[in-house]
């Protein structure tokens, strides 16, 4: 099961990943539409990427009222049915990683699909510092107690 990994220590905060993701999925160079986001503390120079961690028992899917989210058991990715999604942000409310993007522009949730149809994930290709990588997942949930 392949998965996007991020390393905040290598992130420069340029948001090329978000833009590349938005371009590939929506054809729009709007970083706000990227399934990977970079949260920043500009004053103290810290950059932190948020992207779906592919939980085995995803809280977002459980919380979805509109039955718009599902977990694909084969690839482990979370599928968003945009026709069903109503932008109620229940998924945003429960994702422990803050990795669901609440797009007010679309009125829909955006969740990383691991670029499953592409050989290389768009964000990984766009990252100039190597702060994002794609690898086979060893664990899927991975919340340290």
């Amino acid at each position: 099961m392949r998965k996007v990994y991020t390393n905040p220590a290598l992130c420069s905060g340029c948001r090329a990943c978000s833009v590349a993701c938005a371009l590939v999925h929506f054809g729009i160079a709007d970083d706000a539409l990227g399934a990977i986001q970079v949260v920043r503390d500009p004053l103290q120079r810290y950059e932190y990427q948020t992207v779906c961690r592919m939980c085995e028992d995803p809280e977002c899917v459980a919380a979805c009222m509109a039955a718009a989210l599902a977990r694909d058991p084969e690839t482990g990715r979370i599928i968003v049915d945009r026709d069903r999604c109503i932008g109620c942000w229940m998924c945003v409310m429960v994702c422990p990683y803050g990795a669901v993007v609440a797009s007010e522009r679309l009125g829909k949730a955006i969740i990383c699909d691991q670029c499953f149809e592409r050989e290389q994930a768009a964000c990984v290709a766009a990252c100039s510092t190597g702060a994002i990588q794609m690898a086979e997942a060893e664990d899927t949930a991975g919340i340290a107690e």
Partner: protein, 457 residues
Amino acid sequence: MAGPIKTRYTIVGAGIAGIAAAEAIRELDRSGPLLVVNGEGVAPYCRPLTVEVLTDEKTPEEICLREAQWFSERKITIVTGDPVAELRAPTKQLLLATGQVVAWEKLLVAVGSQPAGVRIAGLEQVPCFTLFTQADAARLKPLCKPGAQALVVGIGLIGLQALTALRRRGVSVVAVEVAPKVLPMILDAEAAGYAQRRLEQHGIDVRVGTSVQELRPVAGGRRPYQALTSTGEVLDFDFLVMAVGMQPNLILADRAGIARGRGIRVSPTMQTSIPDIYAAGDVTEYPDWIEGGEEVHAHWVNAYRQGRIAGRHMAGGDPPPCEPVFLNSLRVFDLPIITMGASRRDALEGAEAFVAAAPARPAYRRLLVRDGRLIGATFVNDVGEAGVFQYLMQNRINIGEVAEELVNRGRKAFEFLDELHRQVVRGDLEWAPSMDLISEYRKNHRHTRWGHNEPEK
């Protein structure tokens, strides 16, 4: 009439709590006879989305919670339109309205809630609606025409959803709330201010600190009905929507002698006071670890989680208990709001409030922290990463040191979250192996651990 239907598990109510339980039972027991009985004569549906049906954004089919096939695939029998009339605990049976008897070994009461009412003089003389079920939405729909004037009584979650739907259909709305702020059970005064302004921008006539004293029909008036308010005003309207809260459906439980307060009392594994009878969802009450007392945590996520716990325990599993907190995700027209825990409190004994400083756009983020634990959180117009806070609250993680940084998205907060969310990355995953720049950088820094960036000693 044929003899009793014999089941191992019977679930009363096919809301999200009942469905989640059925799903959980089937994860552990694939074949034990499982019956779901629902009072409403339609396929199980998503209750909050009835509002979308009212505005024609969804069809009734589209808000179906689980289709017939879902039940048949799992060998679950579902009966709709035949409510349970009586619950017989000593003989482990129940009686449906049609007279059918059902025998059960384990029973789940997941009958949800109904709209609460208030007594207002003259109420029976005016057209009064509620918005809880699909049938309610269907009744209300023909009245939702541009130009119509509605009076919404109560600006809580359901009042908000009702008035939003009415407005979207072109209805003029005046809404009264007895508390001094809108959404009083959800928002603190500051957040409620944001919400109220947004309502007013969208043309809602909002009257807080106001109750309706009397209702009456008027002949030859601007509108056929009038309300007299506690502030001495007269409000004209065509129809009224009552949205003063909810109350658990306790009739069955009371007749069966199940212990209850405002809702059915349940153990951490959702067992009631009677052996082999469980309860989950809006019908239950549970000690609220944040505020102390018993609370009815009537929201979707809680109903789902409790349903799952009940189902697993009924099927012999050992589910981890989950202590409910209040969780709300709502939308005041285009203003998204997420709240958790004691968010409605302006202040709480022993708790400190942390408010985000200088937000980039009009937004409000506030954390309430007591003894290092997050006990309340509010996000207005900036709901990103709200789920992180849900996780911190639910797991009672000590955030005392970083609360201020968390609300402001500061460096220390992210380092803290890195530590918390550390992933086990494959040992041979090399970060940026090809880049000289990075290799140089890596010589001087360790980042073998997630989020750590310390110079080598």
